[in-house]
């Protein structure tokens, strides 16, 4: 299963929610979808899940177009919305059973599928509870179960970790890894970026409907090199050398924006790691008493903060 998002565009009246987005991911991959509020994540995911219709562009699920053949594409994708619709007077088990029926599972097969999903998402204990009476975390599980009950190849999760307690988050992560092992293509959006670092194979960062960065996590980290920050600390008592060091650094290649931060010198490294090595060698040769030369490791959070501008439309 391969999911290809091609030049997707969605307008709501004058707002352009999604603006010419393209990316793709494969079976067995977990793909992160990151962006500030109102970036267009939910909109994109709803288009992939055939709930919303694109203004332009297309999404192909193994070659099946969601614009042209939504009925067919629908079978292949399970969507977990950020909130579960509140149906009155129905229990968890009946809800899951209904969706199994709606997707054409019959007789014994349906019974088995529903029970397996209840086991898998750990809702077997609350299957007789009313849907309206569930807590946020339970709803999230039921919602995941609903999307999985007809065994789709693509799973689209919209902020599944929001509102979960730490234990539930770890469990969710394990569930997702298990699903990836079962060769499902998973797209997951989240605000909690550090979580994605551990489980995602790739990420897309979008803002105001436009893609800012895309690729594997390592790629994105590498690409954000220009923003890598290096901190230098001189041996205590040698702080008087700081202004001189600053001047020195400003003339060095691959260094930008050198500044004095609480007795440390910080600068943005625009080159790769060997450039950092050369800089350090140069400084030591010039008899600076350097006691610390460290690179702050960029994680998704930093990349996110660096790449996005915080604009809201």
């Amino acid at each position: 299963m391969k999911v290809q998002v091609k030049n997707l565009r969605k307008e709501f009246g004058k707002t352009v929610a999604v603006d010419d987005i393209s990316f793709s991911f494969d079976a067995g991959h977990i793909f992160g979808f990151v962006g500030p509020n109102g970036a267009g994540k939910t909109t994109t995911m709803r288009i992939i899940s055939t709930i919303e219709e694109a203004t332009q562009g297309d999404v192909l699920l193994n070659g099946i177009s969601v614009c042209e053949e939504p009925e067919l594409a629908r079978r292949a994708v399970g969507y977990v919305p950020d909130t579960l619709p509140a149906h009155a007077d129905i229990t968890v088990h009946e809800y899951l059973d209904f969706y199994a029926r709606a997707y054409g599972l019959r007789g014994k097969k349906r019974k088995q599928a529903v029970e397996a999903i209840e086991e898998f998402t750990n809702v077997a204990g609350i299957r007789e509870k009313h849907l309206k009476a569930l807590s946020k975390g339970m709803k999230q599980r039921v919602s995941l179960g609903r999307a999985l009950v007809y065994d789709p190849d693509v799973l689209v999760l919209d902020e599944p970790a929001a509102g979960l307690d730490p234990r539930a988050r770890v469990e969710l992560r394990e569930l997702l890894l298990l699903l990836a092992e079962r060769k499902k293509a998973i797209l997951i959006s989240s605000h909690i970026l550090t979580e994605l670092t551990e489980i995602c194979n790739g990420v897309v960062i979008i803002e105001r409907g436009k893609i800012l960065e895309t690729g594997t996590i390592e790629d994105v980290i590498k690409k954000s090199k220009p923003r890598r920050i290096v901190a230098i600390r001189l041996l205590e008592g040698n702080y008087h050398q700081n202004p001189q060091l600053l001047k020195e650094l400003l003339q060095t290649p691959f260094v930008e924006n050198a500044r004095d931060v609480a007795n440390e010198i910080h600068f943005d490294l625009t080159g790769d790691e060997s450039a950092a090595c050369d800089i350090l060698g140069g400084l030591i040769a010039k008899k600076y008493k350097i006691i610390e030369f460290r690179q702050t490791k960029a994680n998704l959070e930093d990349i996110f903060m660096n790449v996005t501008k915080g604009g809201v439309q």
């Binding site: 219709e53 919305p81 007077d89 129905i90 029926r101 709606a102 997707y103």
Partner: protein, 511 residues
């Protein structure tokens, strides 16, 4: 068309082969489970049974107190039960079903029900079946009481069955209308208003039904059933009810279909078919009664439906999605034939004008030839015929001109706004021209009957309040001139829509 029939055949075949695996419509299962758990349904059923019990006790006690025996006790008890049953099932069930559908539609931005692999038709049918099962529940709860009345004199079994069956069908029709109202894309306050309106309507309908039922029982329904005319009348009512219910069904399905689907096809096709059948039926009637003027019934009914359809059609969006364009035929002639049955305002206008023109021509043919074939029964004077012809023609031409004007205004001044504006504008323009002059005259203190009865060119309602043929002719000239002007202004837009009406592949290769 051939494709769809063959696919239906294939579906039937697979149904027959897999009968063992046949299962209920999932919606029915879900709705019934929810209904069983719902306090509203349980409470209503309890209330219903209590009222039935109290009523029968009261009637029996009243009877035993009275000295001379009421020979009609069975009838009066039965009537009381029918009133209670009708009240419970005609008010409560459609309301319950409608509220459930509306609730799911409000959440539809989130609700995945409408994007499951269930087709829109299946969803609506599921809701309808659920309503029917609930009605059966209420009816069967009432059964023991009804059977009891049978022990007494005055009630015969066929009448009981006939009345109950009729009531059941009416409840199903009311359910369908409730579903339709719930599917309308309106905000909650409007829907509450609609629900209130619907309740009043069903209250009124209930009164009528009970009055006619007891009237018939008083006349001896059992003996009436022997006559042929009774069955013809019953059948006519049944068919008319089915047609109307079917129309609401088709419209509901179209409403919950995704915007990218060819939503226009089913309703337009349905209306075309009932229009055709209705026309044939009307001609049969004309021949039987030997009075060609009866064709006016069909003509007027068509006119009313077409004007409503025009308001909907003018509010359609222009651009066809990939999904719709996928099954546009490549052949030019075929394309021309199916064009009126695809989404879009332009195609809709073609459809409405085509229907209107055919109706008009057909009615004129019937009137002309009918007049020579049945001269003795021809009940229409030449002047009447002229008036009828002028009025119908002018009305539809005005309506088309107004709609095109509204569409033009929408395109020129609010192109970014949704096309529903065009429909609203049409109504607005019509009412503005109709009452605007009156209001101005009122403020000038010059309003009089004469000014209302006088000629007001452009006012669609004015056609029916003047009787001077020369004035009617001038109305027609104005309408035709205006429509011609609007056609000229909109010609570019129209041609563009036709040019865009292309199958997906060929346009892809052009790019």
């Amino acid at each position: 068309m051939a494709d769809s029939t063959s696919s239906i055949l294939a579906r039937c075949k697979s149904h027959c082969v897999n009968w063992r695996e046949w299962e209920f419509n999932p919606i029915v299962i879900k709705e019934l489970r929810q209904a069983v758990r719902s306090w509203a349904v349980t409470g209503m059923l309890m209330l219903f049974l209590t009222v039935l019990l109290i009523t029968s006790l009261a009637l029996l006690v009243g009877q035993s107190v009275r000295v001379n025996e009421d020979v009609q006790l069975g009838v009066s008890m039965f009537q009381a039960f029918v009133i209670i049953l009708a009240g419970a099932s005609m008010m409560f069930i459609p309301l319950y079903i409608g509220i459930r559908v509306a609730a799911e539609r409000v959440e539809s931005s989130h609700d995945l029900l409408y994007v499951s692999t269930l087709t829109p038709g299946r969803i609506i049918r599921g809701k309808l079946y659920c309503g029917a099962y609930m009605a059966l529940l209420f009816f069967s709860a009432c059964m023991p009481f009804m059977a009891f009345t049978n022990l007494m004199r005055g009630v015969d079994l066929p009448s009981v069955f006939f009345i109950l069956l009729f009531l059941f069908l009416v409840v199903c029709a009311a359910n369908q209308i409730a579903i339709f109202l719930a599917c309308l894309p309106l905000s909650r306050p409007f829907k509450i208003l609609l629900a209130l309106g619907g309740l009043f309507l069903s209250f009124w309908l209930m009164g009528e039904l009970i009055a006619s039922a007891s009237g018939m029982m008083g006349l001896g329904l059992g003996s009436m059933m022997a006559s042929r005319n009774f069955w013809i009348a019953a059948l006519t009512v049944l068919v008319a009810g089915l047609i109307v219910t079917g129309l609401f069904h088709v419209l509901s399905v179209a409403l919950i279909s995704p915007p990218s689907a060819n939503r226009a096809r089913l309703p337009r096709l349905y209306i075309t078919i009932i229009w055709l059948l209705g026309g044939l039926l009307n001609v049969a009637w004309v021949i039987r009664v030997e009075d060609p003027t009866l064709i006016m019934v069909w003509t007027m009914a068509t006119l009313i439906i077409l004007i409503f359809a025009l308001l909907v059609v003018i509010s359609n969006a222009d651009d066809l999605g990939k999904r719709v364009r996928r099954d546009i035929p490549a052949n030019r002639l075929k394309r021309l034939l199916v064009f009126p049955y695809y989404n879009g305002a332009a195609s809709g206008l073609v459809w409405v004008s085509g229907m209107a023109a055919s109706t008009f021509i057909f009615a004129q043919l019937v009137l002309t030839f009918g007049g020579t074939w049945y001269p003795t029964h021809y009940g229409m004077r030449g002047a009447d015929r002229e008036e009828f012809t002028l009025c119908t023609a002018t009305t539809i031409i005005y309506a088309l001109a107004y709609a095109l004007t509204a569409r033009f205004i929408h395109r020129k001044f609010f192109p970014k706004r949704p096309p529903q504006i065009a429909g609203l504008l049409t109504i607005l323009l019509i009412s503005l021209v109709a009452i605007g002059p009156g209001i101005v005259l009122f403020f000038l203190n010059q309003l009089s009957w004469k000014s209302i009865d006088g000629l007001q060119l452009g006012n669609i309602f004015n056609i029916y309040s003047i009787h001077e043929p020369s004035q009617q002719w001038s109305h027609l000239y104005v309408a035709v001139g205006w429509l011609g002007l609007m056609l000229a202004i909109n010609a570019g837009w129209f041609l563009k829509q036709w040019r865009n009406f292309q199958p997906l592949r060929s346009s892809a290769s052009e790019d």
